[in-house]
Symmetry: C3
Subunit: 467 residues, 3 copies
């Protein structure tokens, strides 16, 4: 034993104190390290990683909100450009009014009704709204608000969604242009944007009943082909049916063209909408996650391009002239078509979705005219019909095998369309009975700018006599 | 040996088990540490945290600068739209010239005079300017440049502020439209933007004497209701008083309307200004801090919306027709009103600020016409009067209890207004005496486009005869 | 003591060597750990750090792509504004078609031909294209895709470059305006954007033969003064020579002016182009690196401003009237001039580059008219001539001493210009022989809007009779 001890001691004995000192030093270092680590964790470590991702994502959210805002300028210029100069002030006023009223009603009621956070009046189907408060309070300005799934602050969430909210009414505004009376339309707008839009939207984005669609995989509507665009398109259809066509549009079997008065304005509109759509779809990633972001920008751009090309080629082949307004609507059709599925399709899939959307809008515009449904800017075809297409395409072109079915998707979009149509038909119908929704024939002939606003859009220029 | 052993054992023997235990603990700790390190791989170091926050914030700074740049397109189209077609080229030329000259003078003199960094000629009151150099040098491209308070590089700081600089002259340009001579106006622009704007701005943003206002809490002017907008508005008032009204505007008690020649252009202008304002106010957070950013976007949007609604409703009730140009100015009024205080008010506060601003601009526009102060685009009311309102509202609606008082705020904005007015009255007055500041009556009647530029804005269209 | 020793030895004695070994191991582990920690800070931490830097940079990439997209609206409105109202629909249709076809061809062929990643058909000179696949696969959505040098995902890379691709054809579209037949021009567009642009671009950005220029320092063309702008400008020159001038433009020694029909539209175009250029140049930093980003925004803005001022001053001095369209082209000249070198020049250097560019465009526009080369919008001067200037300026104004020589730069841009000219002359020449590239004189007189599209841009307004 002593030998053993001796043996042990003979070599390492001298080093034992050193070893012990080293251990002590090591422990000290570890203590320092622990302190540093704790400082890191508490201050900026582990959390900092998430914090910076959160900061980037939140920045993207507000930039995307600003881009969606620009879509309202796009709608205003597109609708003004595609209609007659005597109704331009009216269209601009309506579109400006819609974005203003949309933001205010969404703050005062819509947001909390759209995202009830489990606090339903009728479970999964309807929630009450209320004014927003300090959304930065109670962790609303931290990663804790929505985590990776909704990587923004409460105010970021609000302002991004608020910019979407007014879109539905804007879609309707184009379809009822050149004949709808201002006051009832603005009342309708407040109710559509303030009440109906968040109500229907809550079914999907508010985690309502649509989560059970597609065998529990949920309804697939990435950025709103259904809950924004089809919603607006079918609301527009109801209003157009109640309003009737513009005077002189359909005389017997003859369909008279009312060409848009300012094609540069219409083109500005479509290209601003396309630009804004990068925020609409890109922002719907709900974070700055690099993979989805690049994919969504790419599929959005390619679908728009393909939609423009197919509508232009069809008009060139069938109508014999390449029609600019058809090409413009083709671009929008591609954009609406990709909106439901931009994050789950391949680039080649997005091109096909756009090509088909461009074809759909071409035939739908012609078809509605045949049916004497007068939609001056093609809003029902672009947003309603292609909105349905986008939802179906999500099942057909999904490369992620997420279990979306055509039937499940159709159920979802049908529910949205029926609700939008019914709500609009009832509310606009009541307004029609109560105060009338259409201007007089004299006012229609003279133009709504003088009749409703006492202001001309282009007072320095000589308008052409009635054609 | 035994001694040795004894010696070894005598002291450390008792500690050997402890040492062994310590070693075991150390090994355990090291395992924990390894786990912690691996966790840290998913997290990050102290330095990286700040670096990435800096990278995001700097990115936001340059994007916000680009958005503020777009406001110059907004001003150009708004001012062109609200005036007559015979003066359109002149307005476009002036606005293009202002942004070009503004950027150059700010680089050559303004920036260093605006932010003297303690290097005053007259302490807290006036500093000399000089050309910018390599702002990336000496840590100008690191977090060290401005820290969390000004989270950008030196060039980021420069370009963001440079985009603001030209705004003041642009505000004046709208007010003097349709009668001011080009050359003296451009000379005035260079002096206003190059000298006066950074001089007055240095009082507040350059850490000048205004820091002592409000009992040492400092003047509250978040993004420039006073030092940008009221500055421009009161400079405009001085120039308008020196110029006099447009010929035929006020005949006896009759006030003749000169309706804007292109309402889509004016609407494009206001919506681009609104878009750009998200960069103007949002960028003034001076970092990408998520909490303030979401709040500022929200309050900016709600105030604009409320301003548009209140001005529209007032025009509808009082003038009997919903006036588009009034609604447009209402939106701008709300934006100017929220600019001083967007980061310290609640959403409901911002709505109230906007509603009041819309009312103020409505009555101010009517009042100035009564006083025969001819401001073709309403710039004095929108920027001057509502700029004052925004400063006062910062004291009234502050939810952060920062100690801003109405009286302190009024002192600050009064100093800005007086300085802007006096500088402009003197400089534009000298130019008036020296070379005249107004075109001839013949040129005014024919239009400045032909007179000053020999170019028409719309040569292919038939203008209406004099009305 | 011996008991103690015994006690110690009796049980732990056997373990003492083990304990000592353990201590040694612990010390070793601690050393390893320290190294690991240092690695973490330097290496592993960098990875986490890199992730967020990657996220920010990728976000900037897609935002910059959206800003470059807006340049297409800028080109559309600029070209429409600077030409006659009877050809407006045609210009809008062409520009919309170019962006749509450009995106599609770049996805189906161009991208993989532009960036062959070493997979050349003729080494350093020509690579085959192919459709893009899932660019997120195989690490395409991670930092690993391009590292710090190209800090974006594969889809980010694609969409940013795709937005550039169509620019070349858009430049041509302005130069051939008011007389080129639609169908051959669209065929030419597909071939120019789909084949020639990525082919020539691969020499520089695809790491082709141009890397050996300037004594191995490589060709300096930061964001594409040569491979985008000069490419487009010299392609335009070839097409213009094949087309001939507009009827009536040059009669004997008289040069007839065809003033642009809508100067607000042209101004909107230039200011949107300037806005988009912040994405074009800023995005070409290829990350969100704060130092270069601030510098590039600053030099881009100052060169544009200086170009506008010098062209305006020259027109005022020499032509006696300050010409708006010259000032607009001066801004663009400054932007094209700074595009090759925005990241390596000083602010004062950028001002000089812009001033000279503004002068160059002024004299070039006058010179081309003297040579009876009819370019309705000045595209050859702005993009071709100033593109060459930007490349030369990169050698003259470089403050980084990177070894760029005037001669090396000239070789590079000459190769680009010759290739663009030759390709265009051959392809457009074949189309001319095959189907004709010019509309009939009757159609030219009546306008291409009616002739090619059966649609007027402004059907509600009275056009002026032929002047």
């Amino acid at each position: 034993m002593c030998m053993l001890v001796g043996a042990v001691v003979s070599l390492p004995a001298a080093e034992v104190p050193e070893a012990v000192a080293t251990v002590a030093e090591a422990v000290g270092e570890i203590d320092d390290k622990r302190a540093a680590y704790e400082e890191l964790v508490a201050g900026q470590g582990e959390h900092a990683y998430a914090f910076n991702f959160f900061v980037v994502s939140m920045l993207w959210t507000v930039i995307a909100a600003a881009m969606v805002f620009i879509m309202h300028l796009g709608f205003a210029t597109l609708e003004a450009g595609l209609t007659q100069s005597k109704n331009t002030v009216n269209i601009l006023f309506k579109n400006l009014g819609i974005i203003c009223l949309g933001l205010l009603t969404y703050a005062l009621w819509g947001f909390n009704s759209h995202y009830p956070d489990g606090d339903w009046l009728i479970s999964g189907f309807f929630a009450l709204g209320s004014p927003i408060g300090d959304l930065n309070a109670d962790g609303g300005d931290t990663f804790g608000y929505g985590g990776v799934e909704l990587c923004m602050t409460g105010f970021g969430d609000f302002i991004f969604q608020a910019m979407f909210a007014a879109t539905a009414a804007t879609i309707v505004s184009g379809a009822v242009a050149e004949r709808a009376k201002l006051l009832p339309f603005m009342i309708f707008t407040v109710l559509l944007v303030g009440i109906a839009y968040p109500w229907v939207g809550s079914w999907h984005w508010g985690e309502g009943w649509m989560a059970s669609l597609n065998g529990g995989n949920g309804f697939k509507d990435f950025a709103g082909s259904a809950v924004v665009h089809a919603f607006g398109g079918f609301a527009a259809l109801a209003c157009v049916l109640l309003l009737g066509p513009r005077t002189g549009k359909y005389v017997g079997r003859r369909i008279r063209a009312f060409p848009g008065h300012n094609m540069p304005l219409a083109t500005i509109g479509v290209l601003l909408l396309w630009f804004g759509w990068f925020g609409f779809n890109g922002g719907s990633v709900l974070s700055a996650a690099p993979g989805p972001l690049g994919l969504v920008f790419t599929t959005t751009a390619l679908a728009a391009a393909a939609g423009g090309v197919s509508a232009a080629v069809l008009s060139w082949s069938i109508l014999k002239k390449p029609d600019l307004s058809m090409a413009l609507n083709g671009v929008l059709a591609g954009l609406v078509g990709i909106t439901a599925n931009a994050d789950i399709v391949s680039p080649m899939g997005s091109i096909l979705i756009g090509l088909i959307a461009g074809g759909i809008v071409f035939f739908s515009v012609l078809m509605l005219d045949r049916l004497h449904i007068d939609d001056p800017v093609g809003a029902i075809s672009v947003h309603g019909v292609c909105g349905v297409w986008g939802i179906v395409a999500a099942a057909l072109f999904d490369v992620t095998d997420s279990g979306y079915t055509v039937i499940g998707q159709l159920i979802g979009v049908a529910a949205v369309a029926v609700a939008a149509f019914a709500f609009s038909y009832i509310v606009f119908g009541i307004l029609k009975a109560w105060m009338g929704v259409r201007v007089s024939e004299d006012e229609e002939a003279e133009g709504l700018d003088i009749g409703e606003h006492g202001l001309e859009a282009y007072p320095n220029f000589q308008p052409l006599a009635e054609r």
